[in-house]
């Protein structure tokens, strides 16, 4: 065991799989000698050579298209998109190609590829280094969408993603890259895709969250316990697609009061899917309206980013609303 940050855990996950499986490759902008702009790929070129961890031209479309081709021909590429905001030139390759290859070829071809990309706000990155685009991708059949919230899960989920037979978008909360350290087992272990985790027990209300909003929600749950003496359950979804529906419905039914949190905009955001799921299958258990706490329906600002991002106070307010309903 060693204490690692989230970004070190990603690095460790990549190294672990590259040591074990020669078909695992890393490609992207600045992932080579520089080790990535966040240092997620630090040391990989030195350890595994340029054949296995290499810099590409500045073309996201090229990175993902080439990744797809390699994946169809026996490799296990892990493509890095430097910021999720820059993934859109590759949207066609991801949504039209990678996600549909298995289906359209009747299962003859598949794309076991991982796309790693940092997402979210909190680093003073303005409009184009802060966005949370998970909803665009979670809307796409054939993709898997994973978002870890801590170092242990980051490594374990990344290993599962690399071993997965289908394309996985692995979104890393950049605000948490160096926020804290956690014990991370050495060597290989995995956290299964499609399984949520309860991080805090409670029966009075439940808050569903993922990625960088997890610590925010934990803080809010702590404040509620302190201020109101009520216990809020915190569920970290970890995988958005496929969603752990049982975990969501069990928690919703057990608590009867639900808050859903994400930093992406509200309209057609992932929270809408969760709310609809609960409304469809557990409305009779609800003691209060389901409340969403999200980013606003605007582009992402720069100077005022911390007024845009949901914080513990906004989540606490929402929890009070459902608890006092």
């Amino acid at each position: 065991m060693s204490k690692l940050t989230l970004v070190q855990a990603v690095n460790d996950g990549l190294r672990t799989k590259m040591q074990e499986d020669a078909s695992v490759l890393v490609l992207g902008e600045d992932v080579g000698p520089k080790g990535g702009v966040f240092l997620a790929t630090e040391g990989l070129t030195a350890e595994f050579g340029e054949e296995r961890c290499f810099d590409t031209p500045l073309s996201e479309d090229g990175i993902i298209g080439v990744g797809i081709g390699m994946a169809m021909n026996g490799m296990r590429p892990v493509c890095e998109i430097q910021f999720q905001d820059f993934i859109f030139p590759a949207f066609d390759q991801i949504v039209s190609e990678a996600a549909k290859m298995r289906y359209r070829s009747g299962g003859q071809y598949s794309v076991p590829m991982v796309i790693r990309t940092p997402y979210g706000g909190g680093i003073r990155g303005g409009l184009y280094h802060s966005q949370s685009g998970e909803a665009y991708f979670a809307h796409t059949a054939g993709l898997k969408v994973v978002i870890p919230s801590n170092p242990h899960d980051a490594k374990g989920l990344l290993i599962s993603a690399i071993e997965d037979p289908d394309p996985v978008l692995f979104m890393e909360p950049k605000a948490l890259y160096r926020a804290f350290r956690q014990e991370v087992p050495e060597g290989k272990y995995s956290v299964p895709l499609g399984s949520a985790q309860t991080l805090r027990e409670g029966d009075d209300a439940v808050v569903f969250c993922y990625g960088a909003m997890v610590p925010v929600c934990q803080e809010a749950a702590g404040r509620i316990a302190e201020q109101k003496g009520q216990e809020v359950r915190v569920v970290d979804l970890r995988t958005l697609l496929p969603l752990d529906e049982d975990a969501v419905l069990d928690a919703a039914k057990a608590c009867g009061r639900v808050v859903v949190v994400h930093e992406a905009p509200r309209f057609c955001g992932y929270g809408a899917e969760l709310s609809a799921l609960i409304a469809e299958h557990a409305i009779e258990y609800m003691e209060a309206p389901i409340v969403r706490v999200t980013g606003f329906d605007t582009p992402f600002p720069n100077t005022l980013e911390h007024y845009y991002l949901p914080d513990a106070r906004r989540v606490t307010d929402a929890l009070e609303r459902v608890l006092d309903f």
Partner: protein, 371 residues
Amino acid sequence: MTETLQIINPAGEKVGKAPRVKREVLLRMYRAMASVRHFDDRCMKLQRTGRIGFSIPNLGIEAVSVGAAATLDPECDWIAPSYRDFGMAFFHGISVEKMMDTQFGNGEDHNKGRQMPVHFTFLDPIRFLSISSPIGTHLPQAVGVAMAMQRKQEKGVCLVSFGDGGTSSLGFHSGLNFAGVYKAPVVFLCQNNQWAISCPLEKQTASESIAIKGEAYGIPGVRVDGNDVLAVYRAVRDAVKKAREGGGPTLIEAVTMRMGGHSTSDDPSRYVDQELMEEWKLKDPLKRFREYLFAEGLLDEAGVEALDQELSEQIQAAAKAAAAKPRPGLETIFSDVYETFPAHLQVQRDQCIQHFAGRDESVNEEGEFPL
């Protein structure tokens, strides 16, 4: 290999045919280049002391943006800039106070604090289009601006500048392709500073030059010494004239070198050979132009000193003023999403303002930009 145009050599000697440029314009060019250097230097200091979040050094490429911008007519021409074009703004007299407002993202910033530093936008005194972080998106947009000029029978041209890394983007291909097909009055200016963050040119392209890439699109390519402001001026002036006269687009590759990190957050010692830097220091564009102006009798040491003093004071004062201005109001999060204010955003705005009203608990302002 395409020939590389040079007029002033690194020693400041005239080795080619100098374009005819008025004395007053030459001095304006020098002033703009010196302004870039002072502004750059100040911004690096502001970033290091935590006053601004980020900046992009323009060191080493001053001649490219200034030489190119000096050929434009602000009455009718447009600029679609990259983030390393402080010099274009300075040459056209965009106020340093306004530039500092963007660096600080304060309430008087033209972008209302929504963009990161260096993502300038100006309408006056020249159309200086809003800089976008996504690389290459502005190339086809510039072609569209130029195609509108054709249709409106205006005499303007659009100058679009981008880096060597930008030549790998989808926008480079579609921009050049459309421009070639429609003979759009556009000038493509590639600032080949030989790096895209840590990716060296030879990993960006296997082409023998960037200029030659124009050929495949039916666009002439020209290669110039990007540290020679007069060479850049001459090449862009010819391309602008041609475009204005209906002769179509040109691709200009200005060969230069990024002298330092990609941005305030980058550590180039991980990937740049120091010897290469030493070699390029000798080709400094500002010093070279200064030597030329000395030799032509247009400037002297005393003039340089006075100018440096003036610019340094002006820029420092602008930074101080920008730092003192209040931040944008909370309503700016919600305005300008659309021309009219939709109902759902009015609700969100009111909730946000109410949420923060009367709370003295300060908001977490942390966050450091990594690239």
